[in-house]
């Protein structure tokens, strides 16, 4: 019988969950996580010297992409600078930060408008990280499948979970 979920590997109480369009920071032993990234891009920032980090769940590249109001952190253009600023306020220099990103998939390939959102998100996130002076060390992006990510703040390992590949580490 097929199990209809991918289980956490324990440690459920240490999880700091970042919701869709949100940002958050944490220190070890917290585990930063965000779930079900489709066309969204999850950004994980890690400061090895403080065993601290931040995570964002970005939905759209910039506020020009929608007429609707709402939280600004769901745009890459706002989430990246804000997350870096939050970490710097907590004592992490942007030069020490290491970034890993995941997501930006084309979940519905048949629909050309929806298929483009993911890759546009990836582009803009990369650009914003570059503008913020933060090194992008690894990524698991694109494809046509959803991902959940966990950032472990002692090792900087980003666990990427999907029905497609099970669990990968980057």
């Amino acid at each position: 019988m097929v199990r209809n979920d991918i289980s956490y590997l324990g440690n459920a109480d240490r999880h700091v969950t970042v919701g869709v369009g949100d940002v958050a920071t944490a220190t070890y032993p917290g585990i930063l996580t965000t779930q079900a990234l489709g066309s969204c891009v999850g950004i994980a920032l890690w400061d090895p010297s403080r065993q601290a980090g931040g995570m964002a769940h970005v939905m759209l590249p910039s506020s020009e992409d929608t007429r609707m109001g709402g939280k600004l952190q769901r745009f890459a253009t706002h989430a990246v600078p804000e997350l870096v600023a939050m970490l710097e306020a907590e004592g992490s220099s942007h030069r020490r930060l290491v970034a890993k990103i995941a997501g930006g998939a084309a979940m519905f390939k048949g629909d050309s408008m929806l298929a483009g959102i993911g890759s546009r998100n990836i582009e803009e996130v990369r650009r914003q990280l570059h503008l913020a002076g933060v090194r992008l060390r690894a990524e698991d992006t694109g494809g046509d499948f959803a991902r959940t990510i966990e950032l472990h703040l002692d090792t900087g390992i980003l666990l990427v979970r999907s029905y497609q590949y099970g669990i990968r580490e980057i």
Binding site: V2, N4, C40, G70, K109, G110, D111, A146, Y163
Partner: protein, 203 residues
């Protein structure tokens, strides 16, 4: 206008549109497979988009989904969702076989679900178009089998309806032996909803 600004009267108008659409879909599906398939008149619900994945047990729950974009006078689309096991049961129902016969999602199962969802969506769209005297056609349907949260988020990201409500039509497919519940989300863009409600004469 946002969905949560609707009055009870307006919701009743949409409910009427939904039940007519379901009736047409039942006829079409029965003709398609040459055995009887019934559709229960859908219940109309409104719930915050953020809590939609919880209807399926959480954002990571594996669901089958078909998205039908609307073209013409109304923007947005219809999203059909059924958890993986329900989706396979629906395939069995369509094929007139005992539930449990279809064991995994192959090309044939994907095609069946896409077809059923697209007939249902087209029926709803046709009944809206006729009652509201609008020109609306469905675009080609697209299929995905993956986490509920990701699927929901992809179709609502461009509409930007993150904090808004979704209109949900619970649809029950059944025959004498089997019952399968699926969910159809009506996600018009806000401008389109103004037009629609104006035409239904209730604004």
């Amino acid at each position: 206008m946002r969905l949560e600004d609707l009055t009870d009267m307006q919701i009743d108008a949409l409910r009427e549109v939904g039940s007519i659409g379901a009736g047409h879909a039942a006829t079409a599906l029965s003709q398609l497979v040459d055995h009887r398939i019934d559709l229960e008149v859908p219940q109309l619900e409104m719930l915050p988009i953020g809590s939609v994945p919880d209807v399926f047990g959480g954002p990571e729950t594996l669901v089958g989904a078909v998205y039908d974009r609307m073209l013409g006078d109304l923007g947005g689309g219809l999203l059909f969702v059924a958890p993986r096991d329900s989706s396979l049961a629906l395939v069995d129902l369509m094929r007139n076989r005992p539930v449990g016969t279809a064991k995994s999602f192959g090309a044939e199962e994907e095609a069946t679900i896409t077809h059923v969802a697209s007939i249902l969506a087209s029926s709803y769209i046709a009944s809206i178009a006729r009652l509201a005297d609008l020109n609306i056609l469905p675009a080609r349907p697209s299929f995905a089998l993956d986490m509920a949260g990701a699927i929901l988020q992809v179709v609502t990201a461009e509409i930007g309806m993150r904090a808004e409500n979704a209109l949900l039509l619970r649809t029950r497919f059944f025959n004498d032996e089997t019952t399968v519940d699926a969910y159809m989300f009506f996600l018009p863009d806000p401008d389109g909803l103004d037009v629609l409600l104006g035409r239904l004469g209730v604004v």
